[in-house]
């Protein structure tokens, strides 16, 4: 059993661009749900708009990547307003249902054939991030040891992505520590009480939704940069729920929770998958089980992650960094 291979794979995933993308998505969700109490099950919609906005500007309209990124993030703000203005006055469950439906409608629209001229439909869009890699100052070659290694371009994306993770974490922390953040957290506790104190709660919820959405949009931008392309199959609803899993694993309403959660989520997922593959390769598994697992290592890994999360909820429902006491303070 080559534990260095398993560990190398796990570490590569845990620190790689995927983990950074999910960390950004989870930071946005943390602002939405952890602080503002908005149940957003459509975070993938924001990621999709960030990604497609960037890609369409470059690949379809021949614009600059540096115009495409703000365009994509602008679409995220528009999406937040379109989603929030009709629903944020209603009870929170209506908002939750709307978010998941809106994100899925958006994905189906993007991959529909009438949209092919703009979005590439089922084929997606390619060759988008050239001007991003032109800025790569790292030498060619691979960095790292064993399976824990990255190409020069991968490392370049990672540096940018993790810097963004730090900046967004700091942004959310700064906002939450301000009087603005105090109102937002108060709304999470009891919206009527905050209304009775003269605060326009709908405006605060819209602002929180838009900011968290733009952070989710940045995750989509990193995804485009990483693949230098975009496809609608990357934005299925489970993406939102992986981001939720990372957030809950790390701990709601904490600064490092979503980041550590995302790292751990990808570390464990890839680690378990590699472990199962190694077990099969070493013939340590009975044939029946090995045949069953063959080719399904990824799926099994997700299943085990799910079971692990259930266990976490039983033993440490507040996540790694959360405060247990908060769970018992009913609102």
């Amino acid at each position: 059993m080559e534990f260095d291979v398993i560990f190398g794979n796990a570490a590569r995933a845990g620190l790689g661009p995927q983990a950074a993308i999910f960390a950004l998505a989870a930071i946005g969700l943390n602002l939405h749900f952890g602080y503002a109490g908005l149940l957003n099950f459509g975070q993938v919609g924001f990621m999709m708009l960030g990604a497609y906005g960037t890609a369409i500007m470059v690949a379809t309209w021949g614009g600059s990547l540096w115009l495409g990124i703000p365009f994509g993030l602008g679409l995220c703000v528009a999406f937040a307003l379109a989603l929030g203005i009709p629903t944020l006055r209603l009870r929170s469950d209506y908002f939750a249902i709307t978010t998941i439906a809106a994100a899925e409608i958006l994905r189906l629209l993007i991959r529909s054939s009438p949209a092919t001229d703009i979005t590439g439909g089922p084929f997606g869009l390619q060759a988008i991030a050239n001007s991003f890699y032109d800025l790569n100052f790292l030498p060619d070659g691979r960095f790292g040891i064993g399976t824990f290694s990255y190409s020069s371009n991968q490392l370049w994306v990672m540096i940018v992505a993790w810097v963004l993770v730090v900046l967004c974490s700091a942004l959310v922390l700064g906002l939450i520590k301000s009087p603005w953040g105090r109102v937002v957290r108060a709304i999470r506790e009891d919206e009527d009480a905050v209304l009775s104190l003269g605060k326009n709660t709908v405006a605060y919820k819209l602002q929180a939704l838009a900011i968290g959405g733009v952070i989710g949009g940045l995750a989509g931008v990193i995804d485009v940069l990483q693949q230098s392309g975009v496809g609608s199959e990357n934005f299925e609803p489970q993406v939102t729920f992986f981001a939720w899993a990372a957030l809950i694993l790390g701990g709601l309403a904490t600064t490092v929770g979503p980041v550590v959660g995302a790292v751990l989520f990808w570390f464990l997922r890839e680690g378990v998958e590699s472990f199962i593959r190694e077990l099969s390769a070493e013939n340590w598994l009975p044939n029946v089980l090995a045949d069953f697992l063959d080719g399904a290592e990824g799926a099994i890994s997700v299943v085990l992650m799910g079971i692990g999360l259930v266990g976490l909820m039983a033993l440490r429902p507040q996540g790694i960094f959360g405060r247990r006491r908060n769970l018992h303070l009913g609102t």
Binding site: S178, P179, W180, D192, A193, L195, S196, N200, H328, L329
Partner: protein
């Protein structure tokens, strides 16, 4: 629709003679005209005219279902009337959302206390301060713009907490407070918003006698500082103790209003009324059920 008027008890006219509702006040802070709110055929609130005198403590009493809380919800913008208009200091409030009404100086509390559980007691207070620069998103990250103001807010919050005797809990999460402490916090928080008119929905409900006494003392002190107070109350001792004026509501209407002694003088009217009201409600319910069966 025609059945609705019959729900009104016969005794209303006797009560009207004793103390006609809708009396004009010398210096009203709040004036309400033709306020009507129906819930599926029930006239929850149906008030022709009501004025609240500035600087007084006004109690609103009446049996359960009389429409007291609904009236509070309507006046503070938490619910919309079918028709009616009302003015605070001459400014029409109809159609304004609750936060705008609160900003104009009418701040309410709730029957079930609404403490912001996972915020500290001090943060609960700070949220209530009005027009804070740091509450604007565009200034939230520019600390130097709001830090001096934040210090003033905190100083005032601590002062108020001291006055209400819960300053030792300032850094605890509000969810850890006892029921009585929450009542105190909610009242202190309403004050933090610098209101002209405070609407207290059952401030002493579920509070022990000692704390009730202290809450009443706070209400008196507040009033002495010039704040007008309207409160819903079931405990007649409390009403007699602190109110300058009593408004009696039943089945959505104002049955009578007057000084506490006046209302007490008409005690038999009220007693009879409360008895009759039950019967009238029961009859109405039976009628409604009968109609449902027929329809």
């Amino acid at each position: 629709m025609s059945e609705m008027t019959t729900v009104r008890p016969e005794l209303t006219e006797a009560a009207l003679e004793a103390a006609p509702p809708g009396r004009l006040k010398d210096d009203p802070i709040l004036i309400t005209f033709g306020m009507l709110k129906t819930f599926g055929g029930i006239r929850a609130v149906d008030i022709d005219h009501l004025e609240i005198e500035r600087g007084t403590i006004t109690a609103i009493i009446g049996p359960n279902g009389a429409g007291k809380t609904t009236l509070f919800n309507l006046l503070t913008g938490f619910d919309r009337p079918d028709q009616g208009s009302w003015r605070l200091d001459g400014r029409p409030l109809g159609g304004l959302p609750p936060h705008r009404i609160a900003r104009l100086g009418m701040v309410r509390t709730f029957q079930l206390t609404k403490s912001l559980s996972r915020l500290t007691v001090l943060e609960n207070m700070a949220v209530a301060a009005q027009t804070q620069r740091g509450e604007r998103l565009e200034r939230a990250l520019l600390r130097w713009l709001w830090l001096p103001e934040e210090e003033r807010v905190m100083t005032r919050a601590v002062e108020l907490l001291e006055r209400f005797g819960i300053e030792h809990m300032a850094d605890e999460q509000a969810g850890t407070l006892s029921g009585g402490q929450r009542k105190l916090l909610e009242m202190a928080r309403a004050l933090m918003a610098d209101p002209e008119l405070v609407m207290l929905d059952e401030p002493t409900a579920g509070v022990n006698p000692a704390l009730t006494e202290s809450l009443l003392e706070h209400i008196r002190n507040l009033n002495a500082e010039g704040v007008t107070i309207v409160f819903v109350e079931h405990n007649m001792d409390v009403v007699m103790d602190i109110s300058d004026w009593v408004v009696v509501m039943a089945q959505g209407r104002i049955l009578t209003e007057g000084a506490p002694e006046e209302v007490v003088a008409n005690e038999e009217v009220i007693d009879a009324y409360l008895g009759r009201a039950r019967e009238a409600v029961d009859e109405a319910v039976e009628e409604a059920e009968g109609e449902e069966g027929d329809g």
